[in-house]
Symmetry: C2
Subunit: 321 residues, 2 copies
C-alpha cells in the first residue's frame, strides 16, 4: 500500500492548478508501490498520478528521477511524463513533501506472466537502454554490488531466524561475487527494478514502463539479469527457459550485445538475486510488527539464487551457443 501522507482538497487543488490543471474531480490513494504515496488525480483534463516522495527517497535524487522520465519519454519510451509548471520545474512541495504530477499510462500490469510478455519486455528494455545513451545525468546504484555487504552486515544477526545458516551462505556468495564480478561491461541508464508491476500491457503489447525510482547508472546486462529473476521463474520457483529465451532474444534483436555481456549473465543474475534477497531480508527483519507494509518473502530469492549458482553458462537462459 502506498499512502503515507494525506493531502487536503485545498492543497491538491492549489498544487494541480500550478501545473496548469483545472478542477480536481477525484483523488484516490493507490495501493501499489511501497516507497512513496501515490494518488490517482482526476481533473477536467484527464487522469494523472500524483506522487508525494516519502522518507526512503533521497530528495537529492529527485531531479535525476524526473530527468530520466523526461528524457526517455522524449525519446519515445512509453513512460510517464512529469508535468511542468510555467517556471519549468516538475518538482513541487505538497503537504510538506516533495511532490510531482506525472501522466497516467494506459495498460495493466500482468498478474500472470506469459511468454509474450517477456518477448515484449526484452525489446522495450533494449530500446530504453538505447534511449538513455545520451542522458546526461548519472547516479550510482545504491543497491549495486558495493551496497550488498553493508546491507548483509545489518541483517546477518536476524538471518538465522529466517533460515538456518542463511547468513553464512550469503557471506560466501558475497565473497564469490566480489571476487568474480565482471568489469568493463557496457553501462548507462538502467531501470534496476523492472518487475511485472512496473510494466503495463494491453492485449499483450507493452504500453508502459513505470516507477523509475531505482533508476541509476550501471551495466545494461544487470538490468537484464534483474528481469530474468523477476519474470522468468514460475510460482513453484522453477525456471521457465522459454520466457528467458524470448526476453533475451528480443533484447539482443534491438541492442547489439557482446559475447562478454552474455557470458556475464549467470553471475549478474546471481548478483541481482542477492540484491533482492538482501533488501527483502532487511525489510523482513527490520520492519516493525504491525507496520503497514506487506513484507515480501526473502527466501523466494534464495531459491532463485540457488538456481543461478547451478548454471554453467548463458545457455541455461535459452541462448544458443
Amino acid at each position: 500500500m502506498a499512502v503515507y501522507t494525506e493531502v487536503s482538497d485545498e492543497e491538491v487543488e492549489a498544487f494541480a492548478h500550478a501545473y496548469g490543471l483545472g478542477e480536481v474531480t477525484g483523488l484516490k490513494g493507490i495501493a501499489e508501490g511501497v516507497e512513496n504515496s501515490n494518488y490517482l488525480l482526476v481533473t477536467a483534463e484527464g487522469q494523472y498520478i500524483l506522487t508525494l516522495y516519502e522518507k526512503r527517497v533521497n530528495p537529492k535524487d529527485l531531479p535525476f528521477f524526473i530527468g530520466v522520465m523526461d528524457h526517455l519519454a522524449g525519446r519515445g519510451v512509453p513512460c510517464p511524463v512529469p508535468l511542468k509548471r510555467p517556471d519549468g520545474e516538475a518538482l513541487g512541495r505538497l503537504a510538506g513533501r516533495p511532490a510531482a504530477i506525472i501522466t497516467f499510462l494506459k495498460g495493466l500490469w500482468p498478474r500472470k506472466i506469459r511468454p509474450e510478455h517477456c518477448a515484449e519486455l526484452g525489446a522495450a528494455l533494449a530500446r530504453m537502454h538505447l534511449a538513455g545513451l545520451d542522458f546526461p545525468m548519472t547516479r550510482p546504484n545504491d543497491l549495486g554490488r558495493e551496497g550488498w555487504r553493508p546491507l548483509l552486515d545489518k541483517s546477518a544477526d536476524g538471518a538465522e531466524g529466517v533460515m538456518p545458516d542463511l547468513a553464512a551462505a550469503l557471506y560466501r556468495e558475497l565473497d564469490f561475487l566480489e571476487a568474480n564480478w565482471p568489469s568493463g561491461l557496457p553501462r548507462g541508464l538502467i531501470h534496476a527494478d523492472l518487475f511485472p508491476d512496473n510494466v503495463f500491457f494491453q492485449h499483450d503489447r507493452l504500453t508502459g514502463l513505470i516507477d523509475f525510482y531505482f533508476a541509476c547508472t550501471d551495466d545494461f546486462a544487470y538490468d537484464l539479469a534483474v528481469c530474468l529473476n523477476a519474470w522468468c521463474f514460475e510460482s513453484d520457483h522453477s525456471f521457465n527457459v522459454t520466457k528467458a529465451r524470448l526476453l533475451l532474444r528480443n533484447y539482443t534483436a534491438e541492442r547489439a550485445v557482446s559475447r562478454h555481456e552474455l557470458a556475464a549473465l549467470p553471475i549478474l543474475a546471481r548478483g541481482a538475486a542477492l540484491r533482492f534477497l538482501l533488501t527483502r531480508l532487511y525489510d523482513w527483519i527490520h520492519t516493525p510488527e504491525g507496520a503497514f507494509v506487506r513484507k515480501k518473502d526473502p527466501l523466494e530469492y534464495w531459491k532463485k539464487l540457488r538456481f543461478h549458482q547451478g548454471v554453467s553458462g548463458p545457455g541455461a537462459y535459452g541462448l544458443e551457443a
Copy 2:
C-alpha cells in the same frame, strides 16, 4: 489498504465486457476501504470502481447493498450506481469472488472537516433517509445494540492490555444502554458508517455518498449519532458544537424530527461511540501482528463515549431548547 484479490487482465476484460464496457485501459488497486478489494477501472467509456467482495462480507447481504445503491441513485441521492449486465444482474463473479462495477463519483473526501461539510452532510443524510422510505428490502443492523455484548465478550480478556479496567467500564456502559435504549423511534434505511472518507465534496458542496456495505434497517437518529461521533470531534478529542449544530439543523430542515428522537440523541451517541469502540477493540486485539491492515485506535472512541456520558440533554449538541 484494500486489495486482497489480484485479478488478471483477461479476467477483468471479460468481466467488464459482460457489463457492456469497452476496452479496459487501466486498473489500479485503491488504498481505501478495508473490507473489500477495490480497483479503479478505466475503460474507453470512463472511470468505474470494481469491487471484489471479500470474506468479511456475507454474500447473502450483497443483493441488499446493490439494491440500496440502485434505489437511492434512482431517487437522486448522489451515490454510486451499480452497472447491470443485459440479464439485469449487477452482481457477478471475478477471480472466485462476488464482484460488481459501480460508477465513479466526482469529489474528494475531506481530510480536514470544516463546519460547511457538516452542514452539507446533515441535509444529505436527511434526504438519504427520505429517499429510502420506499425501499422494499430490510437488513438487521449486525453491529446494532444486540451485537455489542457478544462483541465485547470476545474482546474482554484483551481489553485490559489496551487500558486498565476498560472491560469493566464497557460492561457497565452496555448494561446502561441495554436498560435505557430508546424504542419506537422512526426507522428505515440507514448508512450506519458515514465517516468522512465515505463522503465526497467539491468546493464545499457534497457530491457523493459511498460505501453502503454497513447499510441496514435501524433508527434514523442512530445514523445522526454516528455522524456526530465521526464528524464533530476535533483531533484533540474536543467536541465542536458548531459542527454538531450545523449537522443537526440542516438535517432537521430536511426531515421533520420528533422531540422523542432529539431527546434520544445523547444515548444514541453513546451507543454509536460504543459500537465503533467495540469493533476497533476487537480488531486491535485479534488482528495478527504484521497483518496488512492499519489498526484504528479504540481509545479515540472511549474518549468520545466519555463525552456523551457527560451530556445532560440534546442541547449539548447545539440544539436550541
